[in-house]
Symmetry: none
Subunit: 259 residues, 2 copies
């Protein structure tokens, strides 16, 4: 919403400037809900107007940005196409196993990957229950307060973990959330021992989640089942963990063999 949201445009060494800027603009439009006017974009991204205009024109021609009748700019249909393809490519291996998990356990199942220092939910199969988790695909979350996030962190070394949580920060949405690096490291050690992660109401009160990383995945990847604490209890875990484990193993095999 405000100018502080968009952290300028990352200028990595060896990167093509125009492309980086173009995606910076996309991010900017994405953040400003709905449409963004040219000058509004110029305020967020510190670039001269003609430059922005030219880049946007290109993006419009490509169909990834749409120019509304009121001259505002909005994300376009081309992105929907690419995004869906990207999502299905990432989650295509997991999807059938998620379905099994849901029909077997009756709770929602998710796949997530790591993007930068955040968790991104890549696919989800929702349970049939009235009260269910609804994690939108594409949604980003912190690593330290989600089951999938912690499961993936457990596969990294201490150095990387430290780097990730310091850059992303460690907010504590509930009283159960992990708030310090040392506590997180201890938790990760426990996860490595038992082989799966538990999100014990750390992201949202009343929600418990069991998660497991996909071993030897090409990109960091983890699956999880989550639901209300009343249903997702110890006896649930006894049933769920073996299922999660075999699903993760199967997915791992599929990913390497299929390509």
């Amino acid at each position: 919403m405000s100018s502080k949201d968009t952290p300028a445009i990352r200028q990595t060494k060896g990167g093509v400037q125009s492309v980086e800027r173009a995606f910076g603009l996309l991010e900017c439009i994405a953040n400003s809900s709905g449409s963004a006017t040219l000058s509004h974009i110029a305020a967020d991204v510190s670039l001269p107007l003609p430059t922005i205009h030219r880049l946007l024109n290109t993006l419009v021609n490509l169909g990834v940005v749409r120019q509304l009748p009121d001259r505002g700019y909005a994300l376009g249909p081309g992105l929907v196409r690419l995004g869906n393809l990207a999502g299905s490519q990432l989650g295509q291996f997991a999807r059938p196993y998620l379905r099994d998990l849901v029909s077997e356990l009756g709770e929602s199942a998710n796949v997530a990957t790591m993007d930068g220092d955040m968790v991104v939910y890549v696919d989800q199969v929702a349970s049939q229950r009235q009260m269910r988790m609804f994690t939108e695909v594409g949604r980003r979350a912190h690593m330290h307060d989600t089951g999938v996030g912690k499961a993936m962190l457990a596969g990294l070394d201490a150095e990387q973990v430290r780097h990730i949580v310091t850059t992303a920060g460690m907010p504590t949405p509930t009283e159960f959330s992990i708030g310090s690096i040392s506590a997180l490291e201890a938790e990760l050690e426990r996860i490595r021992e038992r082989g799966y992660a538990i999100d014990e109401q750390e992201q949202e009160l009343g929600v418990r989640c069991f998660a497991m990383a996909i071993p030897d995945a090409p990109a960091p990847l983890a699956i999880s089942v989550s639901g209300p604490v009343s249903r997702v209890d110890q006896t649930f875990a006894d049933r769920a963990i073996p299922l999660l484990r075999s699903a993760a193993a199967q997915i791992s095999v599929d990913m390497r063999g299929g390509a």
Copy 2:
């Protein structure tokens, strides 16, 4: 899949070359199912290898492309995020027409899209009546028991329909709900003939709904009006259908025609 699919890279006048090329690469990766190796991309897109490599590096740094351990390139999680945001923003094209529908017909109007194998309501304009539908935006529903869902299914081929309903399941919330694939296929055929879908108390007793798909939409998209059976009857339909049809046509034009 083959080299003929990607029609090189469009070089529009006044467009930023690198950006156009970058999206050409994305398209190329999207077409080659799963992963694409550098040289394979170079074959499709007629560009020198160093150029492609540099552009891909940039895209990897941006998180829209990820590089697999086998050095292949695949669409990345960043695209999932953008694509989803773009999808939700798409609904805003429909907004003004939804308003017209509501003021003209006096019943709530919705836009929905397809996410995975489920319907997602993207936007809604509620009627002023005391008793009205209240479909929350972002809510997910099954395809086979909603008007918008059936309208979108009618635009897919039998194979896809079968796949979707088997993965998502076919619960029957009311006695009117469609419970078998054969019944669904027959219903879809009727929808194709008459050009619109009816939800006859299939999701909730006492609720009837008329829905229509947006033709040639970039992503599956459908609009609907719904209300209690007492008000939403045959004479209502006689007024509603033409309005729905013209609204759908208008939205279709708007989405593509803005440039």
